[in-house]
């Protein structure tokens, strides 16, 4: 057997492969659940119920969808340039940190102004955190996967330090916690969900237009396809990379702002909740297309939320829930391989296509 790269694949075949993968993953995880002593069907149903079973749960799931979509959008811009930004996590944290600075110190400002300042601060925080590896990459050709990853740890530990040290709330009775934001620093709600969902919808539209219609979006595409060609055609490659990364990180930074202001009400060192890493998968699975990020992120949020629910409902340990999640992921991501390649029997053993000797 050997593999051949597919020239192209029909929508029907792609759908067939993807659905086979999902069914396959459900069967395999089902076996696993069965050996844990539960009825797989019941568990799956409660997973779905846990994620989308009631208004309250749907709201909770949407709270996960929002940061996933936004972070994926941010990472996508970097990925379009083949700049592997693994630093979404750190950029979210830094956006959260910058926004929190204003939330904690300028709470007397009128609410719209303070929120706007926090929004901008979040963008700058994330953008700044992405700028550093981008600068290192264009100046010294450092490997961005390593630098962006390392920046995550710096951001994480910086916030931990602040949380345990200078920014610790004196009124928290010794508990290492930063003070809760005042109402003026809290995102208002619409239909019971913080208005980050509106920001997210606007972001999807704006970024889609930006990538397809603007000059800068075009330049990002060319740089991603071939830096030599970009250079040749007079595109200032380094500038495009740095600007693109500031936007990429900035969008992730906004996620941080929305999380501290709309969900957590304060800054903690787990405000990023792994979205920066999960978004790498969702971005990739959506084929770097903004429109596909929405369904993929919804699916993932459901998986996260539903996985959490069955833990409590069935007393399944977290690791077991993680295994189920990972098996589903493994199949879904694995199916992408079969969409790009097909497996054919080795020519040598094939009977067809032989020479007819008369």
């Amino acid at each position: 057997m050997r593999m051949i790269k597919r020239e192209r694949i029909s929508k029907k075949d792609a759908f067939r492969i993807r659905s086979t993968a999902i069914i396959g993953s459900l069967i395999l995880s089902g076996l696993f659940i069965f050996f844990l002593g539960h009825n797989p069907l019941d568990v799956y149903l409660s997973m779905a119920k846990g994620a989308f079973g009631s208004i309250y749960r749907i709201k909770d799931t949407i709270n996960i969808i929002i940061p996933l979509i936004m972070t994926s959008l941010g990472i996508m811009i970097a990925f379009k340039m083949k700049f592997w930004n693994i630093g979404g996590e750190g950029q979210i944290l830094m956006g959260a940190l910058f926004a929190s600075y204003f939330a904690l110190n300028f709470s007397t400002l009128p609410k719209p102004i303070l929120l706007f300042v926090m929004f901008i601060a979040g963008f700058i925080g994330g953008g700044f955190w992405a700028f550093i590896p981008a600068f290192l990459k264009v100046k010294f050709q450092t490997n961005e996967t390593i630098t962006t990853l390392m920046m995550n740890y710096i951001a994480l530990n910086l916030i931990t330090y602040l949380q345990y040290g200078p920014w610790r709330d004196p009124q928290s009775l010794g508990f290492p916690k930063i003070a809760n934001f005042a109402d003026s620093a809290t995102l208002p709600r619409l239909f019971g969900i913080h208005i980050g969902w509106i920001i997210t919808i606007i972001a999807v539209v704006v970024i889609t237009i930006f990538l397809n219609k603007s000059k800068f979006g075009y330049e990002i595409k060319v740089v991603g396809e071939s830096q030599d060609t970009a250079n040749y055609s007079g595109i200032r490659v380094n500038r495009v990379i740095i600007r693109g990364l500031i936007i990429s990180g900035g969008i992730c930074g906004i996620v941080g702002m929305m999380e501290v202001s709309g969900v957590n009400g304060t800054l903690t060192n787990h405000v990023s909740a792994g979205y920066g890493y999960t978004a790498i998968i969702t971005t990739w699975l959506s084929g770097l297309k903004p429109a596909f990020i929405i369904p993929v992120s919804t699916l993932f949020a459901g998986l996260i939320k539903g996985g959490g629910f069955i833990q409590t409902a069935y007393q399944i340990p977290q690791s077991a829930a993680d295994i189920i999640q990972s098996m589903i992921l493994f199949f879904v991501i694995g199916s992408e391989f079969f969409i790009q390649y097909k497996i054919v029997p080795d020519r040598r053993n094939a009977k067809g296509g032989e020479v007819n000797v008369s």
Partner: protein
């Protein structure tokens, strides 16, 4: 069956998807015969030879070697039957000597005695009049020596049927002559040689018989003596063609580009351009000749601002443009198109459509932050009709077009930028004759508009007919600049093989 018929391929067909690469092809090659396989790009020559050497399997048809029916499952099987293929790109290990390369992969005892092998190799080689230094490492060899090593290698493997894929593409005329001597010797010794080429004069010079392929079909097999270039071209193209290339007389204007002592190094600090000096005038086509890899690419990229220059000046209308960004150089009106071997390279983005590729050079000119694709689409449609580009439409990824059409998109775009200086390298690489002439006409049209054109070419015949002057590069040095009307192919050949000629430098 006749033992003297070394190769017989009968009604061979091979499809790739929906493309009929070979359709009922017949080919017979006798002992001691040099057989040329002539055809334009995409005619099916390489496919056919790849089946003979075991890389592909035919969909239908039969192959007989030495009168015996054969089925090849791999190149190994074909080597066993005495078939040796010399590819365009040599497959030698750079760090090994000739002997090591030749004995590589041979069966034998566990320990190889290099001395024994060497004697054996020598005997084989000398029986065909081939001589090389067997202890020389491949990376120290000239192109001609590498080729000789490849030939000895297949002979040593016992080949008596030799397939050569465009063997002269990388050789100087002198080296070509030498190669042809060797091939004739081999034929006299009883080898059969199949030579793939699209250069007519080579067919006329060396082959006994010639088979013309067109669009995957055998058009005709002729005796070389009884035919001529004109007939062969007509057969190859499928209609009567005018082979002459126009050289319009344009009053040559003032100097527009002047290169002074240009020196550049590659990443390994090897000088790839050495003190290159020349000038280019308005309304002139300056040809650049030289074997592949003599610094042509570096020269193009240096002028376009893409290659780092160590020292020297590039004066554009008396202003030094060294150090300017590629963007600024484009704005000054210098256009560069380099057609690499894979044709896509850096001029085009393979996965993008024609409109987006056109935009590569157009987008800087548009104002505002948004891109306007509509006017560009119109320009693309004009280009499609003017250059007869075969494409389903402007929104089709360019990588799905054929090589010739991709080239037309690239060159068409560059000419549409209305440059003052047009640099074009290998503009007709692999194009069919009709398309090549379209390109020559386009260039001549530009020349009449007073554009200074630097034309980097492969085919000396074309350079001699099209250009006003010809500059010869050899290992990064200018070995001569000659008037195209007054020089000969032999003279240029000498210059290509690195012999500085101070006399012609003065022209």
């Amino acid at each position: 069956m006749d033992q003297n018929i070394y190769v017989k391929m009968e009604s061979i067909s091979k499809n790739f998807g929906t493309v009929k690469a070979n359709d009922n092809i017949n080919l017979t090659v006798k002992k001691g015969e040099i057989h040329a396989l002539l055809g334009e790009n995409g005619a099916g020559k390489s496919t056919l030879m790849n089946m003979l050497s075991g890389f592909y399997k035919p969909d239908s048809g039969s192959i007989y070697i030495h009168g015996e029916p054969v089925k090849f499952d791999s190149p190994k099987d074909s080597i066993k039957k005495g078939i040796g293929m010399i590819h365009q790109h040599y497959k030698l290990v750079e760090a090994m000597t000739a002997v090591q390369n030749i004995t590589l992969g041979q069966k034998g005892s566990f320990f190889l005695s290099e001395k024994k092998s060497k004697n054996k190799i020598k005997k084989v080689a000398e029986s065909y009049g081939l001589k090389i230094n067997y202890d020389k490492k491949v990376y120290e060899m000239s192109i001609g020596e590498k080729q000789a090593t490849e030939i000895i290698k297949v002979l040593y493997q016992g080949a008596d049927i030799l397939i050569m894929d465009e063997p002269t593409a990388v050789l100087t005329p002198q080296e070509t002559k030498k190669l042809f001597e060797i091939l004739k010797n081999m034929a006299r010794e009883g080898c059969s040689i199949i030579i793939i080429t699209h250069k007519l004069h080579e067919v006329m010079e060396i082959s006994h018989k010639v088979t013309v392929l067109r669009k995957g079909q055998t058009i005709k097999t002729l005796e070389t003596e009884k035919t001529n270039s004109k007939e062969l071209t007509d057969l190859m193209v499928g209609r009567a063609v005018d082979l002459s290339i126009d050289r319009p007389e344009v009053e040559i204007g003032e100097e527009i580009l002047k290169i002074e002592n240009l020196t550049a190094e590659d990443v390994d600090k090897v000088e790839v351009l050495k003190n290159v000096s020349f000038n280019l005038r308005k309304g002139e086509i300056l040809g650049v000749a030289g074997v592949a890899g003599s610094g042509q690419k570096e020269l193009c990229e240096a002028i376009a601002g893409l290659y780092k220059i160590k020292k020297g000046k590039i004066l554009y209308e008396n202003e030094d443009i060294v150090g300017l960004s590629p963007r600024d150089i484009i704005h000054k009106g210098i256009s560069m198109s380099f057609i690499p071997e894979d044709r896509l390279g850096m001029g085009l983005v393979a996965s993008m459509d024609m409109v987006d590729n056109y935009l590569l050079k157009e987008q800087h000119k548009q104002k505002g932050i948004f891109i306007k694709r509509k006017p560009v689409k119109e320009k693309c449609n004009n280009m499609i009709s003017k250059l007869e580009i075969q494409t389903p439409g402007t929104s089709h990824p360019v990588k799905q077009l054929s090589g010739g059409n991709i080239q037309k998109v690239l060159i068409g775009r560059e000419i549409d930028t209305n440059p003052h200086v047009l640099i074009t390298a290998y503009a007709v690489r692999g194009l069919d004759i009709a398309s090549s002439h379209t390109i020559y006409d386009l260039l001549n049209e530009q020349k009449k508009k007073d554009v200074g054109i630097l034309f980097i070419g492969e085919d000396l015949d074309v350079l001699l007919k099209l250009c006003d002057r010809i500059m010869v590069l050899s290992s990064g040095r200018v070995t001569g600049i000659v008037s195209a009307k007054e020089t000969t192919k032999e003279k240029i050949g000498l210059l290509m093989s690195d012999e500085i000629n101070t006399e012609v430098l003065a022209v």
